[in-house]
């Protein structure tokens, strides 16, 4: 039984990694077409870097991810605190609204934001589709994830700690800053990391809300793939997978140290 389980796990891991390894191998392959390895080359990497647009796409991707994560972490954390600490009208409606961006298919969210920007632009001539609209769109789905992650941490919190602080004369703001926030910080960081990676990963919603000059890396990969297989894309993918692994490992090290 145990052996069967190991065999199964081995096969699944092979399934998970085989395609990625093929891309990595092909990114160093001389032959432009096919998978026969005809020799080692760094030509595709050179070509990738000779495309000055790549840096622009990378910058765009990072700007979107950083700004949207910053805003959504702030709004999401506050929202979580409010939802857990206070009672108010329409609270349950708000809770359900929170789940909508989590469960609605990307394509529906994408076209709904596209329509929103279109309606607003028709009315007031702004905003044109750009990095700005992409950021607005990303924040809209990130908020939900941040809120839910932070809330999960908040409900585990011992309320007596906050009460103690208040009994000692702290104002609500002081209590929040000195007691609550440090305690939920791991949740906030986890929420921000999730938001950040969701933004980097998103293609569909970006696809519908991007305009001229706001191409991100996923958009670039998509349009290149639509044009056919190009070894430069193998090289780009390899670099992105490498960066992903690096970031995850750094995250793990950081976590362990704490």
């Amino acid at each position: 039984m145990k052996r069967l389980l190991s065999l199964h796990a081995g096969l699944v891991f092979a399934f998970l990694y085989l395609p990625i390894l093929v891309i990595v191998a092909l990114s160093f392959n001389q032959s432009r077409f096919g998978v026969r390895f005809t020799g080692f080359t760094l030509e595709w990497y050179a070509r990738l870097f000779s495309n000055e647009r790549i840096l622009e796409y990378l910058t765009n991707t990072l700007i979107v991810a950083v700004v949207s994560t910053a805003v959504s972490t702030l709004l999401g954390t506050l929202l979580a605190v409010g939802l857990v600490r206070y009672e108010f009208r329409l609270k349950s409606a708000l809770r359900y609204l929170l789940y909508v961006p989590v469960v609605v298919p990307d394509v529906v969210m994408g076209i709904s934001l596209l329509l929103l920007f279109d309606v607003v632009r028709d009315a007031i001539g702004w905003p044109r589709l750009s990095l700005f609209t992409i950021i607005l769109a990303h924040i809209s789905f990130q908020i939900a994830y941040v809120t839910l992650v932070v809330r999960a941490r908040l409900v585990l919190l011992d309320p007596t700690l906050e009460e103690a602080a208040k009994d000692l004369g702290a104002t609500s703001w002081q209590t929040f800053r000195e007691v609550t926030l440090p305690l939920i910080m791991p949740g906030v960081v986890a929420g921000a990391l999730l938001a950040f990676s969701l933004s980097l990963d998103d293609f569909v919603i970006t696809f519908f809300t991007a305009g001229s000059g706001s191409t991100t890396l996923p958009l670039y990969i998509y349009s290149s793939v639509k044009l056919g297989i190009r070894p430069e894309i193998h090289a780009l993918s390899t670099l992105m997978v490498g960066a992903t692994i690096l970031v995850i490992l750094l995250g793990v090290l950081f976590w362990k140290k704490r």
């Binding site: 998970l16 609605v104 990307d106 996923p218």
Partner: protein, 287 residues
């Protein structure tokens, strides 16, 4: 004793904490959904833009043409079977990881593809399935004639399973970690045989994680357009492709909005059923 907050103070606090986020969600989630609903009731203008008159004609067209029902059916069908495949692959894996000595390393190995860019994961399968790709290289190495795997429904299935497998393993792993194994001992003590003992004592404990994982895979698998677009070459049309097509080259925003509303209604229906059985804790498991 400190004094209780006055109603005005409480209102201020609620507005300060919940206000900005709630405002954002209303403006960028609720309002756009309502706009989609309104647009879905409009007609197509000469350049594809939605124009009056209003009416239910888009929905009538959607539900009276077998073509669109077929597309919905195909989306659900492919979504269902790929989710089932994901579960068959992922369920034992979660157990294996939970019991392994190298648990952390193995989890990392699941997380890496999870965080690898979605498009790269799909793209990888083009490289495997294309005419001069890995699969055909293997097939011809065995002296067999090469096959055509791209575009095909098979490729769509494989890539869907591949893309969403980590989505399933992670929440399920969390459930397996919390399993109370003493129940298994108890079942054995009562004379149950291994298979029966597993289904009586262990399986029910993983059920909530299993259901959450099912939804986490099923919903995006039904709604995706990228996988079918890149690996189906425009031959495998899912409801996501239909929507994208209407907003793209078919230029009929009104009809595309109606299709979106249908997809959204299906998702919300599924979610409502799930919430009915699992409660709000179940909803939290989806994150």
């Amino acid at each position: 004793m400190r004094e209780a907050a006055t109603p005005a103070q409480r209102l201020r606090r609620v507005l300060l904490t919940v206000g900005p986020g709630a405002f954002w969600l209303v403006l960028f989630v609720l309002v756009p959904t309502l706009i989609v609903l309104v647009v879905s009731l409009m007609s197509r203008g000469s350049l594809g833009q939605p124009v009056p008159p209003f009416g239910l004609h888009n929905y009538v067209r959607f539900f009276s043409d077998p073509l669109f029902l077929e597309i919905i059916g195909r989306s659900l069908w492919i979504g269902f079977w790929s989710t089932l495949l994901v579960m068959l692959l992922g369920y034992p894996l979660a157990f294996y990881i939970a019991q392994s000595r190298y648990k952390e390393v193995l989890l990392l190995l699941v997380v890496i593809p999870f965080f690898t860019n979605f498009l790269i994961r799909v793209y990888a399968w083009i490289v495997v399935f294309q005419k001069e790709g890995l699969l055909n290289a293997l097939i011809t190495a065995f002296g067999l004639p090469p096959g055509e795997f791209l575009p095909s429904t098979l490729a769509v299935y494989v890539a869907t399973v591949y893309t969403y497998l980590p989505f399933f393993v992670l929440p399920l792993y969390a459930a397996v970690e919390r399993i109370d194994w003493s129940l298994l001992e108890a079942a054995y003590d009562l004379g149950a045989r291994p298979v029966r003992a597993f289904f009586e004592a262990i399986f029910p404990q993983t059920l909530p994680g299993l259901l959450a994982g099912f939804l986490l895979v099923f919903i995006p698998a039904v709604g995706t357009f990228v996988i079918a677009d890149l690996l189906g070459g425009g031959k495998v049309t899912l409801v996501g492709n239909l929507i994208q097509l209407q907003f793209g080259s078919a230029q009929n925003w009104a009809f595309g909005s109606a299709a979106s509303m249908v997809l959204m209604a299906m998702v919300l229906l599924g979610l409502w059923l799930y919430a009915r059985t699992q409660g709000e804790r179940g909803l939290d498991r989806l994150v």
